[in-house]
Amino acid sequence: LKRTVAFRYVAGRTLAYLVIFCGVLLILIPFLWMILSSFKTSSQVYQIPLRFIPNPLSLEGYARTFEVWNIPRYFFNTTLVSLCVTLGSVLICSLAGYAFAKLRFPGKNLLFYYILASLMLPFQVRMITTFLLLKRLGLLNSYTGLILPWLATGFAVFLMRQITTAVPNSLIDAARIDGCSEPSIFLKIIIPNVKPGIYALSIITFMTTWNDMLWPFIIVSKEKLKTLPLLIASIAGGHMEITSMPWPTRMAAVTIVLIPVLILYSLTQRYIIRAMAITSGIK
């Protein structure tokens, strides 16, 4: 009997490790395959039998990618838009969050419910009409158009309000008695006390904006305003000359887009995972 228990114990753990190992492989192999393929020549990828390691190593795909797309410009646009949206929306939403959590003014609850209602309106529902609105405002193909609509979300206001509520009232009252104005209370008392929330919101906002394809896809058609997800979109469904490029070139392009994210993620993954957990309402 003892032996079967011991056997089941070992078998159970081995099986568990095996399952996890396969899972990890399944996650990593596509990325590895992407990178390896990006260094092959057009004929190498169709070679039979399949060879994993490119031999000889070819930089053809990368050279072609830098020829076809203005890669630094794509990076610049994506970074600029993501930074502006992140800074702007964190500021705007934590201000609103503070007002909703701690200040008293007539109509506060009504206004808060109004903002909460916007949680029911994902972009896909507003896609057509937001486009028409931007067109009327003359903001198609502009940085303003890329940034402005995302400077506040119901979700961020709600999150910052919940987090600000936890700041003790006594701190705020003490500052008021010292004669602090509301803006300086916000800067000196609130901000330092809601830092974890601000970091989490910044990370999530930055990531979402960086990865967002649909919004720039709809309002940007000029090459010099395009962001990185649009680069991949153009390989998937753009002009024939781009969609018919050989696979190594396409994979080189995707690698160039994804590798910075991969590096950034590996450096900051603990914070990112924590941020995801905080914004999902779990400690």
Binding site: F31, M34, L121, T129, I232, A236, L262
Partner: protein, 298 residues
């Protein structure tokens, strides 16, 4: 003294309005007005350029009688049925395994599964497009090495949708694992220990102790995934462009297609309005749950 407080209250109210003003303006302009606009334009025939022509509820009639219109909702239904149970089950099982005391490398494994979560949908979808490529893709190479026939994954109707479902689970599984891990860590160790003393096996433990205790997380993930199904666009654009034979034409992609490619913006607004009604119901559910959940922060 009374005067001081009165003035103070006035200042507080004024600052309150100033602080909420930017957020309120942006949400009104880019969230509320366009949504009302969708409802409005849904009653018109409109190509985006000419003057809209009022046609009553004709767009809705068209949507619900057009086989392709209903198809877009059906694909969203398949998406939910095909991804949600798989992701919940896999997420929970993997979380239970890596949460075990004897398991080495929780952090590493969690971090690996989370990589795709941080990537753009269009990016990871495109990698998988290459994996599924019929001639030289790794998936068919692997099948052939095992003596199985390769498939034309993305150009066979049923298979194309299956691939999109698979990629979604693959991309989001890390998120499910992280949330389940957080939920598992809330379970008091004594519950599990006393079950162990009673000689309860893993399956019974999972079914009778863990499952009920992580139910709130399951509910959250379920509602969130259902909402996500109505937002799917990037994967379909990168992988199949709605084909073959409309089999992956999911509802948000359909809105884009009829609105921007066929310039039937009134009709597209009607589809968006249907989506809006579904969203209102779902988000209400989610919000009720979310507020009960986040109260620990208060």
């Amino acid at each position: 003294v009374g005067k001081f407080f009165a003035r103070h209250r006035l200042a507080e109210s004024l600052w309150g309005y100033v602080f909420v003003l930017p957020a309120t303006l942006i949400i009104t302009l880019f969230w509320i007005i366009p949504s009302i606009g969708s409802l409005y334009y849904s009653l018109f025939s409109f190509n985006g350029i000419k003057t809209p022509k009022f046609i009553g509820l004709q767009n809705f009639v068209n949507y619900f009688t057009d086989p392709q219109g209903l198809n877009s909702l059906r694909v969203a239904g398949y998406y939910i049925l095909g991804t949600l149970p798989a992701a919940l089950l896999l997420g929970l099982v993997l979380a239970i395994i890596i949460e075990k005391k004897w398991f080495k490398g929780v952090t590493f494994v969690g971090a690996v599964f989370f990589i795709p979560v941080c990537m753009s949908y269009v990016g990871v979808s495109f990698i998988w497009k290459w994996m599924f490529e019929p001639m030289a893709g790794l998936v068919n190479h692997t099948l052939q090495a095992l003596g199985l026939p390769g498939q034309k994954w993305l150009t066979t109707p049923g298979l194309a949708l299956a691939c999109i479902l698979f990629i979604s689970v693959w991309k989001n599984i890390g998120f499910f694992i992280i949330l389940y891990l957080a939920a598992l860590r809330q379970i008091p160790a004594s519950y599990i220990e006393s079950a162990d003393l009673d000689g309860v096996n893993e399956l019974q433990k999972a079914r009778h102790i863990i499952w009920p205790l992580v139910l709130p997380t399951t509910v959250f993930l379920t509602i969130m995934s259902i909402i996500d199904a109505f937002r799917v666009f990037d994967q379909v654009y990168a992988l199949t462009l709605g084909g073959p034979n409309h089999s992956t034409e999911i509802v948000a992609f359909y809105v884009w297609q009829v609105g921007f490619l066929q310039l039937r913006m009134g009709y597209a607004s009607a589809v968006a309005s249907v989506l809006l009604l579904i969203m209102i119901g779902l988000t209400f559910l989610q919000w009720k749950y979310y507020t009960s959940r986040i109260q620990f922060l208060d």
